[in-house]
Amino acid sequence: MAGKRRVVVTGLGVATPIGLGIETFWDALVQRQSGLRRIQTFDPSGQPSQIAGELPDFSLRDFIPKGYRKSVKVMSRDIEIAVACAYHAVTDAGLKTKCVVERGEAQGEPNIDSRRFGANIGAGLICADLTELAGALNTAVDEQDRFSLTHWGTEGMSNLTPLWLLKFLPNMLACHVTIVHDAQALSNTITCAEASSHLAIGEAFRTIARGDVDVSVCGGAESKINPMSMARPQLWNRLTTDDNDNPETASRPFGAKRRGMVAAEGGGLVILEALDHAKARGARIYAEMVGFGAAADVHSWSKPDPAGRGMSLALKNALADAGTTKASIDLVTPFGTATIEHDAAEMTAWNDAFGAKLAEISALTTRGSVGNNGAGAGAIDFAATVMALYRNTIPPSFNTGDLDADCDFRFVQNDPVDAKISQAVSLGYALAGRQSGALVIRKFEE
């Protein structure tokens, strides 16, 4: 397309079960850490799967201006994670946003024009705080001690805080992030489950390339660590229930003995920026964004196409968009949910798109370390992929020692491997809904 601007990655911010901040996360990945454990956020007994990837403790006060502290009480966990990621991303990028200036961490005026600063943040189906909501519902029971809408209308609902709904609208991640950092340009919220991050980053890439914004904070965040969000995938038998006694090794992407996914929380927001804008402010450039492809399965809306068509098409579209071929890819980052059927379909898709070449390319998956972080998962994968390319280092993929016989991914097992990586591809897909998105990055050269 004529006049298309070049887009680069200049900042990475992640919140993962193995660490917050890109450096901490990367070190933990290299050290083969697991962020999975018995759930501590609530009492998980009663749930068939009692393990999860929970974030290390953090204080939101470290990530917002003092004047915004009162807003914390209307943030769901998903929003908190996005706000944490955004701070890490803008500071990593050296952007002096309103937040950074108001926190006194940079002198002078913001070095970014709010009217050219956008957001594209993937979000999940945010779950209501069950303790708060159930407690309120329980105040509206009739004489037979059963829930009554009549009672709910007259007095029950007033037990919910007036701003209750605003905690759970998916666009509130972007809302809080754009307020905190004063990003007034194009803002979007992609809600395609686990595919959300890839699609949001891809869409942000397009908004910069076509000139609507110069900088976008993009990615995704979600928490599945609450009783309701744990229950949902269990109704579909997607969570491993055999690993409550060995949480650290429960998530086995593409494993011969994979038994299902491990629910998790987390996310990542990255800074994409027009190349000329990045250069003008002397920004560090991690990588260039060169390809985005999206597609969907048409086989079923709830289960993967065993032929992996949608995922394969997304990969092919991304390669074509990047103007490259599979022969020029040095690293692949599959999603690796670790359920039997999803991983099988994903392996088929990559084989379809890459053929015999796949077995020659290095691969990376974070799922064994961090679990399934929902709408935030893809951004964590993308950040890891960018770091690998930038550092010329392929980190080990924790817990991939015993792979499915059909698996052709070449994961690193122990020590990180030095390797010159010029191009890499990362894939995300929605377990249900079956949307897929793939992103291609390239080592930056003038």
């Binding site: 809408l149 709904l165 759970f168 949307q435």
Partner: protein, 434 residues
């Protein structure tokens, strides 16, 4: 030369009917679909009325695989019906040999309505000890019961991306498939972004729009707690009164609006009937407060200006504005202010209406349904009214096409959608000119 994008099909499921022409006719007659809520017992709710979709059956629209599609949420079923209607309007229902990888879906689909009764029952059970006494939520007790009481399919179908997934399967659309959920701006945003997907070249045809029903106990509760809803329980038919001085909040509606967007040459090659061209899109964030719109209408102004700029149109070129016009005190005042700022002297001359006065607020689906009225206004040379307009408000002093539809030539229309959290989206459509 940039690829141009036209609209070749439109379909909707609205509280005034689920047929494109008859619902349009009812809107032009100024009919109102607001009535006491029947989908659940809302008699004691602060706002006991809504604009519901009535007598809807998916079977009237879908035959293939309909048993399975029926398990979709209300959102997915509405979207399927509207999309089938749009597809047919576009003349795509006969096999034209479309490349399925070049057909995509971009919806502003809401979260599916919660399966409320089992959820509430499980919550109550979870807040009881062994003696049956009330306690704070006991998570293990809740889980043991909830996993028996909740329905797997209902839970899965609540994911906001599921409606678009049903469409992909039904139409065999293998191209890009996205769902945005930017609250009340979602479907306008979806249409704007879908236009860019075609323009960039990632697809030739996009099925785009929105679908949403929040007419369930928690949806109404959420808006009631925000005091966003009209509480005119003694007169539901006059409760939705955008721009009227006595407005007291919006009325919740439900439904879907779906468009077929198509690259111009692709449409011409098959001699498609072209409703209009999508010429402008603007999206901004207020970045102000989570609860309030910026008092100067900053984000709305920027969205309209961006849309006009991308359309290469000046305010004087716009004949009709389909307003967001929710009927809340704040929205209508600030939207009017924003239109005044963008349109200057022309603000007084442009016809503005809010069909929310007749069908309520369809939340994520609102923008798509409203944009369809713009297409029909261009096609038929008539704009729909803002009904229930009785008392002029000094803060809302523009031409809102009060109470009666107006015959007038319409070439270019601007449609606004503003969402909670300061989300602003504007799309401009225009009669196709060479």
């Amino acid at each position: 030369m940039d690829r141009r994008i036209v609209i070749t099909g439109a379909g909707w499921v609205t509280p005034l009917g689920h047929d494109l022409e008859s619902a349009w006719k009812r809107m032009l007659e100024g009919q109102c679909a607001v009535a006491p809520t029947t989908l659940f017992d809302a008699k004691t709710f602060p706002s006991a009325f809504t604009a519901e979709v009535r007598n809807f059956s998916l079977d009237d629209f879908v035959q293939k695989n309909v048993e399975a599609h029926r398990e979709g949420s209300r959102n997915a079923r509405f979207a399927l019906a509207a999309a089938v209607m749009a597809w047919r309007y576009a003349g795509l229902d006969s096999d034209l040999g479309l490349d399925p990888t070049r057909v995509g879906v971009y919806l502003g689909g809401g979260e599916g309505p919660i399966n409320f009764q089992p959820f509430a029952d499980a919550a109550v059970v979870g807040c009881r000890n062994d003696q049956g006494q009330a306690t704070p939520l006991d998570a293990p007790r809740w889980a043991q019961n909830a996993l028996q009481m909740l329905d797997a399919t209902c839970e899965l179908e609540q994911d906001p991306n599921m409606a678009g997934a049903h469409l992909a399967v039904h139409f065999g659309a293998e191209g890009p498939n996205l769902n945005t959920l930017t609250a009340c701006a979602a479907s306008t945003q979806a249409i704007g972004e879908a236009t860019h997907i075609i323009r960039y070249g990632d697809a030739d045809v996009m099925i785009s729009g929105g679908t949403h029903s929040m007419i369930h106990p928690l949806g109404v509760t959420g808006f009631s707690r925000l005091t966003a809803l009209s509480t005119r329980n003694d007169s539901p038919q006059t409760a939705s009164r955008p721009f009227d001085r006595t407005r007291d909040g919006f009325v919740l509606g439900e439904g879907a609006g779906i468009l077929v967007l198509e690259e111009l040459e692709h449409a011409r090659a098959r001699s498609a009937n072209i409703l209009a061209e999508i010429v402008g899109f603007g999206s901004t964030a207020d970045a102000f407060r989570i609860t309030d719109i910026h008092e100067d209408g900053r984000g709305g102004v920027a969205a309209m200006e961006a849309a006009l700029k991308s359309a290469q149109l000046s305010p004087g070129d716009i004949d009709y504005i389909s307003a967001h016009g929710t009927g809340t005190e704040e929205n209508d005042k600030i939207e009017t202010l924003a239109i005044r700022k963008v349109f200057g002297d022309h603000a007084k001359n442009v016809a503005i209406s809010s069909i929310k006065s007749m069908i309520g607020h369809l939340i994520a689906a609102a923008g798509a349904v409203e944009l369809i009225t713009c297409l029909l206004a261009i096609r038929d040379g008539v704009v729909p009214p803002t009904i229930n307009y009785e008392n002029p408000d000094p803060n809302c002093d523009l031409d809102y096409v009060p109470n009666h539809a107006r015959k007038m030539p319409v070439r270019a229309c601007l449609s606004n959608s503003f969402g909670f959290g300061g989300q602003n989206d504007t799309v401009i459509v225009k009669a196709l000119e060479d």
